[in-house]
Amino acid sequence: MRHIISILLENEAGALSRVAGLFSARGYNIESLTVAPTDDRTLSRMTIVTRGSEQIIEQIVKQLNKLVDVVKLQDLTEGAHIERELMLVKVKAVDAFREEVKRLVDIFRGRIIDVTDSTYTLELTGTVEKLDAFVKALEVTDIIEVVRSGVTGIARGDRALTI
């Protein structure tokens, strides 16, 4: 099962490597990992997408909680939640493809954020599935470069990860 785990951790040097080190040392897998400070500069918020059996996920949550730098965490997938990923794509855009790619960007509600004579740089936000579908659709032209931020997320409704 795929799980999205949100973590509030002390914004200190080395905190990230404690989390990353835990995953590699115990052989847990990381599909994606994002991290940045929150509105409270002393805290970072990290989002990890991982996969594993219920027993493994339970261990991941317990082991993360055990890290002294981890203040609080939440398994977003345990309840209703919103997940988003940001993607930037550079594609070849010449001749008829300039219009075709523009149409695709509109359909997926993306944006063209940079233009040259022969390329477009596109921005798209959405779920992993939406981003995957967009990349597939873009295969009509040449994709030069894809960069994805990794998933970040937040719980729906009143549920929140705060201290």
Binding site: G21, Q59, Q63, K66, D69, V70, V71, I163
Partner: protein
């Protein structure tokens, strides 16, 4: 008044009430060493290798329950200590390691004796810190002691760059620590305890299995009361030996790979298992698929991540062993239910049958010295009251099986990491903590060589440790596995070109003995232990072919034990009550 960082380090140790620190000086730690020189409150023990500093601090911590403190320099000082830190980590031993670091402006420059101490120790510490401002130094050291000694204890490293030890600031040692990200649970949830009690009282074939957590929490009296009130059998892990008296009839001995027949069979056949402060390690469970197939499991542990890690648990209780067992006892007194006497009688009858196999029997007629015999005699001569440290291998298992520990904190060994070289330095820490008590290091000729240099430290501080070297000219446990599982291909397990240990001990300024006949064992032990003012190295030349029994081979279940060839095979047909 403003103090230098180095003075602050020493003042923190004084204010923490630290008696001994174990260390080795070097460039990055020189300011701290200079600060140590001008005071007498904290006594520094100069080891001969940083690994030994960590083991000695570890031994001190295991014997006293107080945190062990280590001081090393940067680079190789830290890397040498890593084995000792990892040893303490695996066995949850409270320890604070202060390491010198190159000056902050050189960090990352591949400076002389620079190593990323925080990075290299991260996987084997409970937590670690790099101090970047002298203003944070005292509060960081306070946090280090707090984290190391609370919850599930463990080693904490504080890396202090040399320039920080020269900078000055006002010294304030915080009285208490509050960390929003660290709040260890101590009390178990009363509702969970209630559920546990219901299951415990409905048991027909109960088993109480306890580990090092009882010793950490000082819960031995509570455990005793629990076992006696319930009338249930009790077994200890290697790390838990001494938490329940070995000479008590309710005690079934150690369990696991080299556990007794009765302990392992009872683990296999029980219908309710109460595990306290034990972590279902692979040396305990054997093949998980075959582990205790009929039991409901109640697991008490201070570390939530220990629960449900290896086996499924029916009633998890997160909490300190002492508070949970106390709560169990209180609820039991209030409950009107009693254990099922009839079922219990039947269960004990079965256990006694298993016990009658005498799985720890060995050949007592041999003309060679049997290692088991040495340990039985050691128990006799010391009245079971010595602190016994060990290294790792056959001698460690024999000490665990035959010494018979009746009190906690007397059995000091590297259980989790299995570190050869642990025994002698650990004994130094124990002897310093208890200068008037007998401290015996049970070792083998392969293990003792790994930290033999510490004989020099023992001489410097007049530590009257007694070394029992069970010398079989093999890495015995390796040889045993090669005999059983590698068709007797004894690849590199033979210890060739051994030193004359008696002469070696003398060269270091100690006494030495060589004992070759079973008839001389007791006399030698008595003579050595009577020499209270000196270290005596007893080199016992033992039977090379002796193996540790019983044994559960890797991948087998608890009911599939190899017994000593002389014991005969266990009965096959069994009926569950």
């Amino acid at each position: 008044m403003e103090l230098t960082g180095a003075d602050i380090v020493v003042r923190c140790l004084q204010d923490e009430g630290i008696e001994y620190i174990f260390g080795y000086p070097g460039g990055a730690a020189l300011h701290i060493y200079d600060a140590l020189y001008t005071q007498e409150k904290v006594k520094h023990i100069l080891v001969r290798h940083e690994q030994a500093a960590a083991h000695a601090a570890d031994g001190y911590a295991r014997a006293t329950g107080k945190p062990g403190v280590v001081l090393v320099t940067s680079g190789p000082g830290v890397t040498n200590a890593v084995t000792g830190i990892a040893t303490a980590y695996m066995d949850s031993i409270p320890m604070v390691v202060i390491s010198g670091q190159v000056p902050t402006h050189l960090i990352g420059d591949d400076a002389f004796q620079e190593v990323d101490a925080v990075g290299i120790t991260r996987p084997c510490v409970k937590h670690n810190f790099l101090v970047k401002d002298v203003k944070d130094l005292a509060s960081t050291i306070k946090k280090a002691f707090y984290v190391a000694t609370t919850g599930r204890p463990g080693p904490v490293l504080v890396d202090v760059p040399k320039d920080i030890t020269a900078h000055k600031t006002e010294y304030i040692y915080p009285k208490s620590v509050a960390m929003r990200s660290y709040a260890p649970v101590s009390k178990g949830h009363p509702k969970q305890v209630k559920r546990a009690l219901e299951i415990l009282l409905s048991a027909k074939r109960p088993m109480i299995y306890t580990g090092g957590g009882i010793i950490m929490a000082e819960a031995q009296s509570e455990l005793r009361e629990l076992v006696r009130t319930l009338g249930y059998p009790c077994t200890n892990t290697l790390m838990g030996l001494g938490s329940y008296p070995a000479d008590d009839p309710m005690f079934l001995g150690m369990l696991g790979m080299h556990g007794t027949y009765e302990a392992n069979m009872a683990m296999h056949d029980c219908d309710v298992m109460l595990a306290i402060g034990a972590r279902f390690d692979d040396r305990i469970t054997g093949d998980l698929a075959k582990f205790s197939p009929y039991s409901k499991i109640i697991h008490v542990d201070v570390d939530p991540s220990s629960i449900g890690k290896n086996v499924r648990v029916d009633v998890p209780i997160v909490g300190d062993a002492k508070s949970v067992v106390t709560e169990l006892l209180n609820q039991m007194k209030a409950a009107d239910r009693k254990p099922d006497e009839a079922a219990l009688k039947k269960w004990w009858k079965q256990i006694e049958e298993w016990r009658s196999i005498k799985s720890l029997e060995y050949d007592r007629t041999s003309e060679l010295i049997k290692p088991q015999f040495v340990l039985e005699k050691l128990h006799e001569v010391t009245a079971g009251d010595a602190y016994v440290t060990s290294d790792v291998g056959q001698h460690q298992m024999w000490a665990a099986q035959y010494y018979g520990f009746n009190q906690p904190r007397r059995w000091i060994n590297s259980g989790g990491l299995g570190t050869m070289g642990f025994g002698l330095p650990a004994a130094m820490g124990v002897q310093l903590a208890f200068p008037d008590s007998p401290v015996v290091c049970v070792t083998g000729e392969a293990s003792i060589i790994m930290c033999i240099q510490e004989l020099s430290t023992c001489r410097q501080y007049d530590l009257p440790i007694k070394i029992v070297n069970l010398n079989n000219r093999y890495m015995g446990m390796v040889r045993q596995w090669q005999e059983f599982f590698y068709d007797r291909r004894y690849s590199h397990s033979y210890m060739d070109a051994l030193p004359d240990f008696e002469a070696l001990a003398k060269a270091f300024g100690h006494s030495g003995m060589r004992i070759e006949k079973p008839g001389d064992v007791e006399g030698a032990l008595r003579e050595a232990l009577a020499m209270k003012d000196r270290l005596v190295f007893m080199d016992f030349i033992t039977d090379q072919t002796e193996n540790v029994y019983p044994m559960i081979a890797a991948g087998s279940g608890h009911n599939q034990m190899h017994l000593h060839p002389g014991t005969g095979e266990p009965p096959e047909e069994r009926e569950l009550a």
